[in-house]
Amino acid sequence: MSRAFVSVGRPASNPLAGIDAAVAEQLLGEALASGGDYADLYFEFRCGADFVLEEARVRSVGRALVVGLGVRVLRGDATGYAYTEELSSDCMRQAARTAGQIAAANRAVAPVALTPLSSSDRYRLPESSLLRPGLDKVALLRRADAAARACDPRIVRVEASLSEEWREILVFTSDGRLARDEQPMLRLGVHAVAEEGGRRQGGRSGTALRRGLELFALPGHAPEDHGREAARLALEMLHAEEAPAGPMEVVLGPGESGILLHEAVGHGLEADFNRKRTSNYTDQIGKPVASSLCNVVDDATVGHARGTINVDDEGNSGQRNLLIEKGILRGYLQDRISARHFGCAATGNGRRESFRCQPLPRMTNTMLLAGQDAPEDIIRSVKRGVYARHFSGGQVNIANGDFVFSLTESYLIEDGKLTAPLRGVNLIGNGPEVLRQVTMVGHDFKLSEGTWTCGKDGQSVPVGVGTPTVKIACITVGGTRTP
């Protein structure tokens, strides 16, 4: 095989090829043999590859193949779970019996005959990137690397990486659902370091979407764009100033600021916490939990977005769910167990990291919808405050609603204008309190196309976040400079 055509494609044989309704029905029967209310099977086949370019050299090429089955048996709110990586009849039956341990004896429910779920197609691809030659991907990394270096001689280091994944899932449930999905993910990331007079700063840019290599032909997504953006950020931060400390007005820029929603509201609306009454939002449906300017949705249907799913990992269709309407809480993010508890329909938010994990209520693409204000007016309205553009991440304590998120690009606002770039800024607040402080919402909604990954109970899933420009009247800025 010549070098030009080495691809890290999918294996010729699909390890899930032999899994059909007959196999599934037998395993579901086995899982429920000692009782239990419900069982499901989650087959997963994942292949991925990654490429890292560092010091202008492809340092390493990686590849992963993962296949397995997770079996879940429910009895009331209790879950029995087991998994196997070996899809032999013996191993699968053993997993089914082990998961069935949770069941109390002598209450058997027979599985219902399986009916395939008709599914949407929200990330149809011209071609999976995994089928393209490896050198095509190396070439993309070189373009990003060259563009970052060409920005400025002060750019002293660039690292570019690309990873691609193809995940195929098959879900069978004892109440008769059969769902199947093929979920692609393609990610490009660039990290640039700028140096000047002994000072160093890093900047990052990247994207992750459910697309093939055509992603890089989209506006703003050429590898050069990400190389230049990473370099710009690193250079900009070289001269960043110490940030102020204390409560003040903050303007959140469009797109990435959606992480605020994710932390401040999203997690607290996951139904498991509310079923267990450990969330701040317990019993708040129908009540005001945010300023009347806030309309929040979790939307699994956005074409090709990172958090989009056709079906969730319990075999329910992904959908658009209204969470907050004009400040009033309308609903929670449900998985099967919680939906049963609340007596409502599943919302398609039962997700899991892999076949090794039981599903939990999780977000998909969480967004604050556009308002009426012009973004310029929002900035102009601030006498002294902080403008937040890029974030590295956030964290929330579900029980009390306290969250913190960390900014990687932010500016001081003085007399309605952005002035000095700031370094080392955190925002800290409380979910319900901060949403009541939303006083202006821009008309410039944007879904971030960055690589957002949400962690919960040790499970990571890809998500999307989005907002328009938003003004928060008062939030605590954690800087080093006291007034």
Binding site: R63, A64, V66, A82, Y83, R199, Q358, R423, I428
Partner: protein, 454 residues
């Protein structure tokens, strides 16, 4: 039902895979095999919520041809699949570019023996789900019954992990070992006056069942910690001394581990690049990385490239003695590896700590709180650390200290300081080293930190 992880069987697989990789044209190769068996149970309000039990194994392969590296991962141990995977992995090398520094370690560097570090509890395999459920129930119940203000629970989780690791390298090493780990965490919830919930937790963990705290002790301490948070409030923005409880100090130490990594040093992505031999912390601070401690959580007889584990003094009385290196970063820095390669089946070798320990001091921890006013930090939140510049700002909660004692609980604040200043200014190291995890610290005190509050 548990199938016991078998280190010898893993080693056979590793050697088999190594021979397939070499037969497929690799000039050098190494194989890591992990076989694990997990049991996790969760109890909430006295009822079982989750029983999860499974065995799992996978192998990771690193192959080199013409100084070009590929790193691959699979869980398919069928003989034909292993052979095919070896061939495909070797082909991938062609996509990488030659880098002589990426070669395997030199033959003379490889470990010659695999010391027994007493990491396996013979009694662990006989624990079953029913027994672990009972422990979790006892722990949760102790928390729920101890005070009427404990009104809810996020549950109690008990787990047992048994694992075998084997490694075979064409540089001249083959070995394996196995270990167990047991833990229990209890997480009660209290209702606060303003409608907020307050949550807290306490945990115990050990490689041996006999090393665990009893469940009642864990539950009572979890409740005590949670109750102490009732009435939490913000404080005004100020600059005060900060006392970091061992669990918060451990988070600081984990961040220090990231900036004393050889990988960060050669990339100059740490503010400590080129600072070896100079003061990077207060003279009260000595930090070691010690992989060979018997029964310790982070112990490993050999590292992720098959080098013998060895203790490294990283910071000695405040002076940075060495950064920790795997083979690649060591070569980049022109020195030998410190035997600090970590390795997971899913990725290549990288610098990682084993048992990373800030040695306990002589001051009783309670004495460190004897400040007129200050902040006692129990929890840190968020990602506000820039390792390149040392800018550090994190969400925090804990207690306000007034006249030397904890006056009231504090939350929803951030604390900020430059990380270099934080370590250099430490003026108190407690005698209360917390040995439950692989990053271990006692209580630490910093004389001045910026608090952003209400």
């Amino acid at each position: 039902m548990s199938r016991l992880p078998d280190a010898r069987r893993c080693q056979e697989w590793a050697e088999q895979m190594l021979s397939y990789a070499l037969a497929a044209g690799a000039e050098a190769a190494e194989v890591l095999v992990r076989d694990g068996c997990e049991l996790e149970v969760k109890v909430r309000l006295g009822e079982p919520e989750l029983v999860k039990e499974a065995g799992s194994r996978a192998f990771g392969l690193r192959v080199l041809r013409d100084h070009r590296a590929a790193v691959t991962y699979s869980s398919d141990f069928a003989d034909a699949a292993m052979r095919q995977f070896a061939r495909e992995s070797v082909e991938l090398c062609d996509l990488a570019e030659p880098d002589p520094l990426a070669d395997l370690p030199e033959r003379h560097e490889m470990a010659r023996e695999v010391p027994d570090l007493d990491l396996w509890d013979e009694t662990a395999p006989s624990l079953d789900a029913t027994q672990v459920l009972r422990l979790a129930k006892q722990g949760e119940q102790a928390a729920l019954l101890c005070d009427p203000r404990v009104t809810n629970s996020e549950g109690a989780v008990g787990s047992r992990v048994m694992g075998a690791t084997a490694f075979a390298s064409s540089a001249g090493f083959s070995g394996g070992y196995r270990g167990t780990r047991l833990s229990l965490v209890v997480s009660p919830v209290c209702d606060d006056a303003d409608g907020k919930k307050r949550n807290g937790h306490h945990w115990t963990s050990s490689r041996f069942a006999s090393g665990l705290l009893d469940p009642e002790t864990v539950g009572l301490e979890a409740a005590r910690r949670t109750l102490a948070k009732l009435g939490s409030r913000k404080i005004a923005t100020c600059q005060v001394p900060a006392v970091f409880a061992p669990e918060a100090a451990r988070a600081l130490l984990g961040q220090l581990a990231a900036v004393v990594s050889g990988g960060a040093a050669w990339r100059k992505s740490t503010y400590l690049a080129a600072r070896e031999g100079t003061a990077v912390a207060s003279p009260l601070v000595t930090v070691v990385d010690h992989p060979l401690l018997p029964r310790a959580p982070g112990s490993r007889p050999f590292d992720g490239e098959g080098l013998a584990g060895r203790p490294n003094t990283v910071v000695s009385e405040g002076v940075l003695r060495t950064v920790l290196c795997d083979t690649y970063s060591a070569r980049k820095l022109g020195r030998p590896s410190t035997g600090s390669a970590g390795r997971g089946v899913g990725g290549g070798p990288h610098v990682s700590t084993s048992n990373f320990i800030l040695l306990g001091g002589k001051t009783p921890a309670a004495e460190l709180e004897r400040v007129p006013q200050g902040l006692y930090v129990t929890d840190l939140m968020g990602f506000g650390f820039n390792p390149v510049t040392g800018d550090w700002s994190q969400g925090a909660s804990g207690f306000w200290i007034d006249s030397g004692s904890r006056a009231y609980p504090v939350s929803e604040i951030t604390i900020s300081i430059n990380f270099d200043d934080l370590w250099k200014s430490i003026d108190g190291v407690g005698d209360d080293l917390d040995t439950r995890s692989s990053v271990q610290s006692p209580t630490l005190r910093v004389p001045r930190i910026t608090v952003a509050g209400g």
